[in-house]
């Protein structure tokens, strides 16, 4: 009964718009008060808040967020689209494909999905609309390409999963590389399919000379520098994810300084934004811990795991149900909140069923990518709507074909885990 009351309070507070972390902390506190009184709650609140922040590994999150802020400041991301459009611009629908490549490039140097969507919106949508692209296609491809940053390392979502699930962050980040490339190809293939079905959606492309193509590569230099500093050093075992994150943030600051974009005001703003985002994530982690204590003391998680583990049903059906649950949650909840709230419950179930936790992390984040663009809570769709000044409805319609393609890719990666697990197994 206590569990139902706490969950009902949680959903009621979420519904009235209380911040997710506050709703979880309050409902968890009410639950703890019901089962153990003020003494139990005070005991937990004495240690839990300090412990959340008093960790060296957790700095990976603020460092990757700071890196994203400095990358945006440097302006490198703006040039990525120009370079990609010169290489694939000749193909029909080439600018839309260039958007996907620019999204992948941005994802390789930044772990923030919304930052990617905002940056891509400001450069790619005007270019596509000017060239005569169907607005729905242009907005759809930008919103979905922005989600690539969630998967391609450095991925803040995968770091967060690693911390919650106590899984190697290095392995998780490297495991995101191949799925990230596959998602990029999936977006490009979807564009090709859509343009083939209705050629009026995109105009004919334009060819560029080889000199123009090689000149455009100057933007790739700084990108490779950052990618090598972060993902390369983790893969080769030269640096831990924490060290790589710090180096990445510093490298991005150097790039921004080289581009003469760093002033006291811009630096202050980047640090403030990163501190806010870090605080938001850490407070949700803290609130989830409070709620988690309540679940642990009432044996709720254990009961769920035992019940599902004892079901006489195929593990694939249970996996499919869990993933469908994630897609459904993504319609209404923030992806970070979903990860923190659900992984402590779903991961033990997944492990009991014999699935790999690294693979599951990649699949869950990929599923969360779908939630980033689906109504009514698709954050990337909101970002694209705000930056492009296009109606939200048009963007949600535009992402629909990409969502279908994403779901097909998730099914393939679910059935063939070795696609995800091969690269991390070759790590130094």
């Amino acid at each position: 009964m206590d569990v139902f009351i706490a969950i009902a309070v949680l959903f009621a507070l979420l519904a009235v718009g209380l911040p997710v972390a506050f709703a979880m902390a309050v409902s968890g506190s009410i639950g703890l008060l019901m089962i153990g009184g003020v003494d139990l709650l005070a005991g937990i609140l004495r240690t839990a808040p300090f412990t959340v922040a008093n960790s060296y590994e957790i700095i990976t999150i603020p460092m990757f967020i700071l890196m994203a802020e400095f990358v945006i400041l440097s302006g490198v991301a703006d040039d990525l689209f120009k370079a990609a459009s010169i290489w694939v611009g000749r193909v029909k629908g080439g600018l839309a494909m260039a958007t996907a490549l620019a999204g992948a490039g941005f994802g390789a140097i930044s772990g923030s999905s919304t930052a990617a969507a905002a940056t891509l919106s400001s450069t790619t949508i005007p270019a596509m609309l000017k060239a005569g692209y169907e607005p729905r296609l242009a907005c759809g491809v930008v919103a979905t390409s922005g989600t690539l940053a969630m998967m391609i390392p450095p991925s803040i979502a995968l770091v967060l999963y690693g911390i919650i699930a106590d899984v190697s962050i290095g392995k998780l980040l490297i495991a995101g590389v191949i799925p990230g490339i596959l998602v990029t190809f999936t977006i490009m293939a979807t564009v090709t399919f859509l343009v083939m079905r209705d050629p009026s959606r995109a105009p004919d492309g334009r060819a560029y000379s080889m000199i123009e193509k090689f000149r455009s590569l100057k933007v790739v230099g700084p990108m490779i520098f950052l990618f090598a500093a972060v993902t390369g050093s983790i893969y080769l075992g030269v640096a831990t994810p924490t060290e790589a994150a710090g180096l990445g943030a510093f490298g991005a600051l150097v790039l921004a300084a080289y581009a003469r974009r760093v002033t006291f005001e811009t630096l202050k703003m980047a640090l403030k934004q990163a501190s806010h985002a870090t605080c938001m994530i850490l407070l949700i982690i803290l609130a989830a811990q409070i709620f988690g204590y309540f679940f642990a003391l009432t044996r709720t998680t254990q009961d769920i795991v035992t019940t599902i583990g004892g079901l006489d049903t195929s593990r694939w059906i249970i996996l499919a149900l869990i993933l469908m649950g994630y897609v459904a949650l993504g319609f209404f909840m923030d992806q970070i909140a979903i990860l923190i709230l659900t992984v402590p419950v779903t991961l033990p179930v997944i492990q009991v069923l014999g699935f790999d936790p690294v693979w599951f992390g990649v699949i869950v984040v990929l599923t969360a990518e779908v939630g980033m663009v689906t109504p009514p809570m698709g954050l990337n769709a909101f970002v694209v709507a705000r930056y492009s000044r296009r109606p939200l409805e048009e963007i949600f319609r535009g992402v629909l074909p990409f969502v279908v393609a994403f779901l097909m890719l998730i099914s393939i990666l679910a059935v063939f885990p070795e696609i995800v697990l091969w690269l991390p197994e070759t790590m130094s």
Binding site: V16, G17, A23, P49, N54, T242, E243, P376, A385
Partner: protein, 190 residues
Amino acid sequence: MSSREPQTGPRALRMASAFIAKFEASFMALSSLALFAIMIIVTIDVVMRYVFNQPLEWAYDVISLYLMVSVFFFALSDTLHDHGHVSIDVLIKFMPGWLRHGGETLGYAIATFAFALVTLQAVDRMSESYRLDEMLASAYNWETWPAYLPVVLGTALLTVRSLYRTIGHLWSIFAKGPMVELPPLPDVSE
């Protein structure tokens, strides 16, 4: 008053928010400074470790004990004031004002109680650590009590901001309109 302050409502409430915001801005500066320091220390540590084989042995302790704690707790209240904590706003637009403000009053009231409890526990833990002269078991014997200072200050300010929101939402029920700052809804109009 900054643009983040409520534009309507009783003057006393608006002034209270602006007063809390002054502390939030100062704490935010400390949080940003701590974040910048982490980046610099990690970078120097990596260079010293892999190039000169002389890592900064104190880096791990200073970052985890003092700096990361400062980043988080000093940013707590300003992030709330800036609507930086994510919330679900799907149902709000279909909800009568009294229900929304009523729910938020209850939520912030309990949050105020919980954060006050965290502050009191942190004060107790800090004074205990000072009294017992607790040190971190490492080569440098770092004092642990200063690490609790950001917890005390940050959660105390968050408690005050939550109390302000409790009063503001409660007032909004009777005033039949928002008397407290509300998060901006997504601007998606063409």
